[in-house]
Amino acid sequence: MKRMLLPISIPIFIAALLVVFSGLAAAKVSGRCDSCHTMHNSQGNSEMATGEFPPGDGPPHPTLLMNSCVGCHSNESSSTTFTLGGCVVPVVNYTGAGEPTEYLAGGNFYWVAQSGGDAKGHNVLGIAGADLELGQAPGNPNQCANSCHYSLATTDYNAPGCQGCHLKPAHHANDHANGVSGLVTSADQGWYRFLSGHMSGELDGVEGYEHGEWEKGHPNLANGQADNHNSYLGDEGDHENHAGFYNLGHTTTAFCCGCHGVFHKEKDTGSNWIRHPSDAVIPDSGEYAEYTVYDPLSPVGRPDLAAGWTPQAEVRPGTDMVMCLSCHRPHGSPYNDLLRWDYGLMIAGGGDLNRGCFACHTAKDTGG
């Protein structure tokens, strides 16, 4: 079938949507208590805890922790995982020399931490300074002054830093064993990757299937595998209003909309797409029908993600959905706008790439 070249009208997202932190958190921790906790912050009359937690506050730390979120989930030797006291710990902030060549599903903060890297990740306190260009989250629907909707990189706002997104960490929540994949659908399980709401969304959070190794191995994961990726919940909702848990269910897109909700106003009054759709069913027709083999680089949302779910190696046009995470990595990536791929390589008619934008827009790369 000859593919048609359609003009690209996808707006560039300046900052990543607060997409599911698919590379951090969740899965019940295991192993020695003293790997993470210190009872009195004292050993041989020396302090045990390091870092600042919350940012700006030195030891002792709440919950008797040895370090902060950033402190525990940073590593200079590994950009994916390391083992601590019998527990596998995901790395979201590689601090070693040189760029990481592998990372987890949520990406890595390495690039945003570099000078000039604001566009390559969420600016999080303890990792990067405040974004020099953006005074608030792009597409911010909530005009709550002095809040994490404006910045995650200062101590001025409530819940700064990591907890601006991972509101209620629950490392001991009884979801599934460390290193093992499992479905997470409730507050008791800590929500998917500890992503939850507050205020009107206090009782809501993200549901999803957590890969036991946080999709370790990006960006080189094989296509068409059922066991090497997360599974995300999708919910069509409408595309003419801002969105959140209240109208998009417990989806990652709903969570992102808490800060980037204006971007979900995707259709005009004439039902024309004016922004890239998210949580929209991939059409089962035309070029979109060609995307049938799951590519971990371009994940999709599953509307039927529920109890009993088993990961799928296929994409189902007409059922599965494009979502925020289809294009972005929430922590950061090597590419501007936290994209999963180099936008500069997305050249219509430039060749049979079949990845990135062209995973769904299968006809655009060959000029069909």
């Binding site: 003293d34 009872m39 004292s42 041989g44 709440p62 919950t63 008797l64």
Partner: protein, 350 residues
Amino acid sequence: MKKTVLTLTIMFTAAALVVVFSCPAMAAVSGRCDNCHTMHNSQGGDPMMLPGETGPLSALLKGTCIGCHTTDGTDPLADPLGGTGAEYPFVFSSSGFADNNCLAGGFFTDATDPSDNNGNNQHSLGTQNLPAGYANNEELGDWYTGDTEAAGFSCGGSNGCHGRHDVVDDMEAIKGGHHNPTAYRMIYVSLDMSEGVLGTGIPDYEEALISSGTGTDNHNIYSAEWTDPSISRYCAICHGNFHNETGTTDDCGAASPWLRHPTDVEIPGDWTIGDEANALTGSDYKNNPVGYDDANESGGERMATCLSCHRAHGTGNDDLLRWPYGEQLAGQESGSQVEYGCLGCHNKQR
């Protein structure tokens, strides 16, 4: 033969109380006076001190604290005179005690090595380091002298644990404590003896509980609560940074999420051990005991204390813990979960 008539001026206490530690007092000693005392440190031209001891000593004693409370046997509660005296507790053995063969207060693993935290598992007698978490601006002020006294950390006094804390000499510090005890284990939250720690001691010092790990009526009863002269408040007179003083929250925080492990705080009722409907087991009493307001076990609310995790003299484990910290593994599969120690209380983290 010259008959020597000794005029006894010491009245034997009637009815040996032997060992039963009633609140607030410990058991008054009983038995022959000369089991412990020597009037002139002389008999047949020889001194009367216990082996290894050099006298004469204060209070006409035959040995120091550790000298008397040391055995070369393996029974931590024994009658050293073979039936002629009362059983009394030993805190050090040259043969070695163990975590399943000791008394409630634990045991010294070495009674002579003053190196700081000797092996990290006991209060090191003789050390001149300040106690971990010592805060000279807390309840009793800057009272501790173990860092400046040549003897270093000792059993009692201003450089030790037992007795009053406004004198240096061990014997002067505990004077009267063996014959007329006024506080649980002769420990006080005051500099003098005006405010003794609350508690009830079991007659065998938990020897049976510790060796068997079973039983529900063979344990001490510890006090807990912010305003009590609790056992945790007592520990805090040395380890002040590890315990909130009454009316303050700086050291441990005001509530969950705590900054340091809380003590004298009620264990949440939705935790297995915090639910008063759940009977405590021998393992609980041995491995993670709780405290009660006014040391009243029937009063209800169960609280964390310093002794929920530690034994005072020492143990076979680092940091004087009742169990090896390295065995505390969270997130284990059902059937292989640890159910004592940290995880004895923190059942949701098993």
